[in-house]
């Protein structure tokens, strides 16, 4: 406990890094996954290709990705960009399928009605299909965010692991408190971010809760 208090500013800076390294990729990944998921959902045959290619990305070991990205991107081996890009890739891998599934689950009648009312395909996507997909997409984002928070720690091997630094540092210097504090902080961060996303989701989709309440009421 003493170690924690003595190193509070060090921990704070690691925590800030961790948040940036883990959540910026989620945002980037989501922004890329939405159009890809849209494409996958539209292209009947292409869907399998896009979704499976994206899924394949997730099977690349994170450590390998951290090490090979500098070669591919031409960045320095110790550039934090590597971590951001690697985790963005994982987010895309996770979310393309989610977005495609979410869009596919939008009731065809609603899409049909929107078209018949005179929505252009792009406007229909923005005004109807995407917002209706939010509950499902958000569930995927929560998984991606927690996964990203956990994966950042691997970056510590190239010096950008956020709170993961506390694992390597504490392990090398045999400071148990540092390792334990690191683990606890990562878990707490994951829980807090997950909770916040849940809250944001509720604020974005008041209609979804009422729909569920009604559905439950009907089955009760």
């Amino acid at each position: 406990m003493n170690w924690v208090l003595e190193n509070i500013s060090f921990i704070a800076s690691l925590l800030t890094d961790h948040i940036v390294f883990s959540l910026v990729p989620v945002v980037i990944g989501l922004v890329i996954a939405v159009p890809l998921g849209w494409l996958a959902n539209r292209a009947g045959f292409g869907r399998a290709v896009v979704v499976n290619l994206a899924g394949l990305l997730y099977t690349i070991p994170s450590l390998a990705l951290f090490v090979f990205l500098p070669v591919i991107l031409g960045t320095g081996i110790l550039d934090p960009i590597n971590v951001i890009v690697a985790l963005s890739v994982y987010t895309v891998a996770l979310l393309v399928r989610t977005v495609a599934d979410a869009l596919e689950a939008v009731p065809p009648l609603v899409v049909d009605a929107a078209t018949a009312m005179g929505f252009t395909p792009f406007r229909r996507f923005v005004a109807a299909e995407l917002p209706i997909s939010v509950p499902v997409i958000l569930a995927g984002v929560r998984v991606a965010a927690v996964s990203s928070i956990s994966l950042v720690t691997v970056g510590s091997v190239i010096g950008f692991g956020g709170l993961g630094q506390m694992f390597t540092d504490g392990f090398q210097r045999s400071i148990t408190a540092e390792v334990v504090a690191g683990i606890v902080l990562v878990v707490v961060l994951a829980l807090v971010v997950d909770g916040l996303l849940l809250l944001i989701g509720r604020m974005l989709t008041p209609w979804d809760r009422t729909a569920r309440a009604v559905a439950q009421g009907a089955t009760a």
Binding site: A113, T115, M117, G118, A128, W207, T210, A211
Partner: protein, 373 residues
Amino acid sequence: MIEFRGVTKRFPDGTVAVDDLDLVVDSGRITVFVGPSGCGKTTSLRMINRMIEPSGGTISVEGKDIMSRDAAELRRGIGYVIQQAGLFPHRTILDNIATVPLLLGWNKKQARERAAELMDTVGLAPEMAKRYPAQLSGGQQQRVGVARALAADPPVLLMDEPFSAVDPIVRETLQDELLRLQGELGKTIVFVTHDIDEAIKLGDKVAVFRTGGKSAQYDEPGVLLSRPADDFVDAFVGRGLGFLSSDGLPIGDLPVVAIGDRMPTDGWALVVDGERRPLGWVARGTGTVYEDALVPGGSLYDAGAGSLRAALDAALSSPSGRGVAVDGDGRVLGSIGADDVLRGLADSREADGAPGADVGRPVTDTDAADRVG
């Protein structure tokens, strides 16, 4: 006016959904497309707003070829109501109704005011404005669907089996409401249903489609029932109308005069001989009834032994609009209107062969074919 000229729809797999359709939908009236599934009625409807593009022929709305217009723009000018409403689950009732006005570029305040107005028109309580579709019953959702279609005040309304997903009692209310609304708004409505009773109740004109995408008959409901063009229409529309008894239909009064009596002061009167057998009709006039003033026309039906079809035909063929009911000896008993027959038909279908229900009881006699004059 919506005009189909030689319209054909052939799907990529070779199925012909609509085959060389020629049909004119009158402005300000309700036209119903009815038929068994796979008859092309929905495809025909969906071609009007280009949800499905015709593969041949032309469709024009108010004289303009629909293919000459931008699809999205065309659709904003045509109201569309579908089964289960297809409301946006993520938008409030008010915003659902305001959809098309907003698409047309109205400002939010105007669009919402218009939406609130329409909630009132279709009979939705104002406190529902802020609710979401999932919180409404099926019937209420369907009202929202109608309000949404009417929001931008389009001259044309397309309704694709809008009431088939709600229970029969609510359906009947919604049908009545639609007729009431139409009385106020006078839209050009094309309504698709597979339910012949609904078609007859709502349609000013009814097009019966047969499998393979052909229009088998396009007429007013009464004509359709009394004079089906062929066996298919007879089977589909009449459901054996010719075999249902007219016994029990409410026979109304009929002004009767004899040759030499004073002319009727208003409306029509039936001229009879000394045995109360019909000779012909006379219209309102002055002086006395003389033989040359008689207007022939109108079949008779035997109130005891005739069929519903005979009764309907009598009403529709009569110059006065009232069919002449006679007894077994051909003596006048009274008159009947086409509405009475249609109502009797609806009743017989509801009773569905219940014992004791006179109307709709099967008859064995052939249709009475006597004529007035």
